[in-house]
Amino acid sequence: MADYLPHTDEEVEAMLAFLGLSDVDELFAAVPRALRLAGGLEIAGGEPEPDVLAHMDGLARANSAAELVCFAGGGAYDHEVPPVVRALAGRSEFVTAYTPYQPEVAQGVLQAVFEYQTMVARLAGLPVANASLYDGASALVEAVNLGTAASGRETVWVSSGVHPHWRACLRTFARGSGHRIVEIPLAGGETVWPEGGRPDDGGEAPGVVVAAYPNYLGCLEDLAGVRALSDAHGATMVVAADPVAAGILRSAGEWGADVVVGEGQPFGTALSFGGPYLGLFCCTMANVRRLPGRLVGETVDVDGRRAYVTTLRAREQDIRRERATSNVCTNQTLMAVTAAVQLGWLGTSGLAEIALRCARGTRTLREAALGIDGVTPLTGSTAVLREMALRTAVPARTVVDRMASEGFLAGIALADFTGDDGDGSLDADAAAHGLLVAVTERRTAAEINGYLVALDKAVRP
């Protein structure tokens, strides 16, 4: 019997006696007898911690992917997470606190989130960032909710350059919201927005226009055009931006975005099999009262000392209930704190440096890969930052499997994202042969060279 319950048997007896009870079962008198679980849970008996750790370690060792040199991205990136960030983000004061409902004893989390909001807003080039959402996809769903509310129109034009999983989430949640999601196709990796005002089907003009920057295939979209398109329709312009790219690219806010969302995993969070990650959400001051989730603001205490508190609370579900701007309650605060620490570690020069190093590695790999017989570009763009789509002569899934035995996670077979038939971003052939490859600042020249040797072998029929 292993657990974390402090009571001795004698203490349990004494507490029951205090309640006038003789048996713990009597604590559950309100539960109808017929419903009570007879025979206990069908879960094996408890094990001591060392046994559990051994079991979990066994499961961990069964993940051969962890051993591979990672060239996969697609919204999850192998960036440097230094020991100092792990140590600080792992402090139990942050890990074991609840939502800061009592600000007098939650200034640590509140100030860290305030610093996070400041950094994220600067990355986006917008004045407001919230305290986090679940992940990039949930941030995009919330952005669309904000945009439709702001414009009063339910039609959403979404570039197919937005991550396929994020678009899938938009479609799922539109079942409830009733939003009309229109996915705009790509050609050569860039969005081809409908000419003139209306979509082909003659439907309602968009209330929200969504683009990605860079898009999920690694291409740079014409955001000035997206701004003009949004203005033409009076639509809210939403950009799903790679926050690391802001180290080298103009911010989406500079291009005129009303809302900028993103995936914050690159800032201090390990690959983690996809979660917990960090939904970044920024908007203009004009939209702040439609902001989803928590917002930390600065104020003063009774003695005039600077202090922080969650604010504009009247937007939130616990106050506004069915008229709230969002249902989000628990968010990803620990990841936001982690991102603040990581961005504190990177600083001005470090963010610029990792973005530059990603772009250098990606360009280096791309130029060499395109010299391999059996590898061609999937998109037209040559301006690549951290990610690119290649076409391999053999199916990309085969390439991934073959390169795993050479020690590389070669990338993501695009059919895994779009399905075998492709989608608005790719046709079926491009889905089958498309390989999405990411190079972060952690990849060395030796690893890139090894990758190219393995790729050369892997793409042969």
Binding site: I43, V52, I412
Partner: protein, 521 residues
């Protein structure tokens, strides 16, 4: 303070003054010194292309994003000092009702940092992630055993995400029957996420009142039920800490009109191994792993809100789902349910939170989980009885894992409100209970001690509650209560100003803003 108050109770009581940092901490931006740096990156030997060669001019950033520039040593000091201004479960008892702030076992941290789990890319092919898939399937089986459900999705990242996922399942279920039902019933004691999720799910909220016993008013429920009702969302035990004794009758009545029952798992801790939502008649259940399974809460997240369903809803679940492959080879893979509502997460959910939950399940086992519920309910009832002479008890009958006290008499007699009691408790070294919730109780103080607090900690907590009540009646007592807390890193905040003069970032600070961050008290 009395001399007693200067002593730490075993485990649960944090005397705030000496422990929590009372010196203000400047923001990292004020610690910044241009040119200073912490970062160190790998030596890569990659060709050093220039930004001009890499990025077209119109896209290229002209001036770097300005972040703070600090040394690693200063970064560590800054964040450590911030942590000293933060209450946490590790510091002391956290009887925050509805939040299940139990002790978070450290083994879960160790599991979450295993390189074979934390270092896995979510898009890696199934053949290379067999350990993760096995982990998820094992956890799914455990959660189904706990809830009496048939299958689960792990994609929802928190309870509210689980609720909305559940409501989309409700919608898909009725759509498949060719019915377009519009209403979802929730009790007036429900968490705010319930009605907010109902709206996002495209339904309308119908609220049913609580009866004099604190449970769903059956007559009102029957009156609200018709074939336009898609579902009812219930928390059981409810937010008053009371078990809905009429649950079988409720289930029958809702099912009779073709509606579904949704179980909000916020209070599942009370019934682990005692009764299962599936046996009560629920069709859809979300669990809050950061509450019941201690994964922990992270200062406001990450959580995990898996949704488990009965057999008739399995094919509607979000996907792809981790499954045991049927080839007898003991292998695992991904499978998209045939009529799936689609994806609700970028990847597979908050995976490392799920790994922590499995470790928690394995340490406790089935019997241990049952003991968790027993001790949680024992602790709450002990506090209820102990404090029933000092505070109003909203519904004075045996409770489950939490008890809703009320400061209504203190307010009437001395002008001391629930908020004042909460702030006084902070001075006493405890986290405050949840206040002003549920909305159906005036001056509510919702206390959830959890099972991991010892009888000695409960005693110290009860004494603190009693001291607060006694002092409220002494000369100067109400004034002291209104002025509390005075021993915490900051005193009561000007929340109206925070909303009126919005300062959401350091860059929005007006030049005249008070409180120089570097000042000392």
């Amino acid at each position: 303070m009395t001399s007693q108050a200067d002593v730490h109770a075993p485990g649960g009581r944090a005397q705030s003054a000496p422990i929590m940092g009372r010196s203000a901490e400047p923001t990292i931006f004020e610690l910044s010194e241009p040119g200073r740096r912490s970062w160190q990156l790998r030596t890569t030997g990659v060709k050093e292309w220039s930004a001009e060669e890499l990025v077209p001019r119109e896209h290229r950033r002209q001036r770097p994003v300005q972040l703070a520039e600090v040394s690693e040593r200063d970064l560590v000091a800054h964040v450590t000092r911030l942590s000293h201004r933060q209450f946490s479960v590790d510091l002391g008892a956290y009887p925050l009702g509805s939040c299940t702030m139990k002790y978070n076992p450290k083994i879960c941290d160790a599991v979450a940092s295993l390189p074979g789990l934390a270092g896995v890319h979510p898009a890696a092919p199934a053949a290379m992630t067999q350990g993760w898939l096995a982990l998820l399937v094992e956890l799914e089986e455990a959660l189904c055993a706990v809830t009496g459900m048939h299958a689960a999705t792990f994609q929802p990242a928190a309870g509210a995400a689980g609720e909305l996922t559940g409501l989309l399942l409700v919608r898909a279920y009725h759509d498949a029957q060719g019915e377009h039902r519009r209403r979802v019933i929730i009790p007036d004691s429900a968490h705010g996420t319930n009605p907010a999720s109902v709206t996002l799910g495209g339904f309308e909220v119908t609220t049913v009142p609580s009866d004099s016993r604190g449970c769903v008013d059956m007559a009102a429920l029957r009156a609200a039920l018709d074939r336009d009702v898609a579902a009812i969302m219930l928390t059981n035990p409810n937010t008053l800490g009371l078990f809905e004794e009429d649950i079988e009758e409720i289930a029958t009545a809702v099912h009779d009109v073709g509606g579904l029952l949704y179980y909000d798992g916020a209070n599942l801790n009370a019934i682990l191994g005692v009764v299962r939502p599936g046996d009560m008649g629920f069709d859809i259940v979300h669990l809050n792993l950061h509450k019941t399974f201690a994964t922990p809460h992270g200062g406001g997240g990450p959580g995990a809100g898996p949704v488990a369903v009965s057999e008739r809803l399995v094919e509607l679940l979000p996907g792809p789902r981790p499954v045991r492959l049927g080839n007898g080879a003991g292998a695992y893979g991904w499978e998209m349910p045939s009529r799936s509502i689609g994806r609700v997460h970028s990847w597979h959910g908050n995976a490392l939170v799920l790994a922590r939950a499995l470790a928690y399940v394995r340490v406790h086992g089935g019997d241990g989980l049952r003991r968790v519920a027993e001790r949680a309910v024992l602790n709450a009832n002990w506090l209820r009885v102990r404090l029933s002479g000092t505070y109003d008890v909203a519904f004075d009958r045996p409770c489950m894992h939490e008890v809703v006290l009320a400061a209504s008499a203190l307010k009437r007699k001395h002008g001391v409100r629930a908020l004042d009691v909460a702030k006084r408790l902070l001075e006493e070294g405890f986290h405050a209970p949840t206040v002003y919730f549920p909305l159906v109780v005036e001056e509510a103080l919702m206390v959830e001690p959890t099972e991991t607090e010892s009888p000695q900690t409960l005693e110290a907590l009860a004494e603190a509650f009693e001291r607060i009540a006694a002092q409220a009646g002494e000369p100067g007592g109400p004034e002291a209560a209104h002025a509390a807390p005075r021993t915490t890193p900051v005193g009561r905040l000007d929340e109206a100003r925070a909303a009126r003069v919005l300062v959401p970032t350091f860059d929005a600070r007006p030049a005249s803003a008070g409180g120089d961050g570097s000042e000392q008290e």
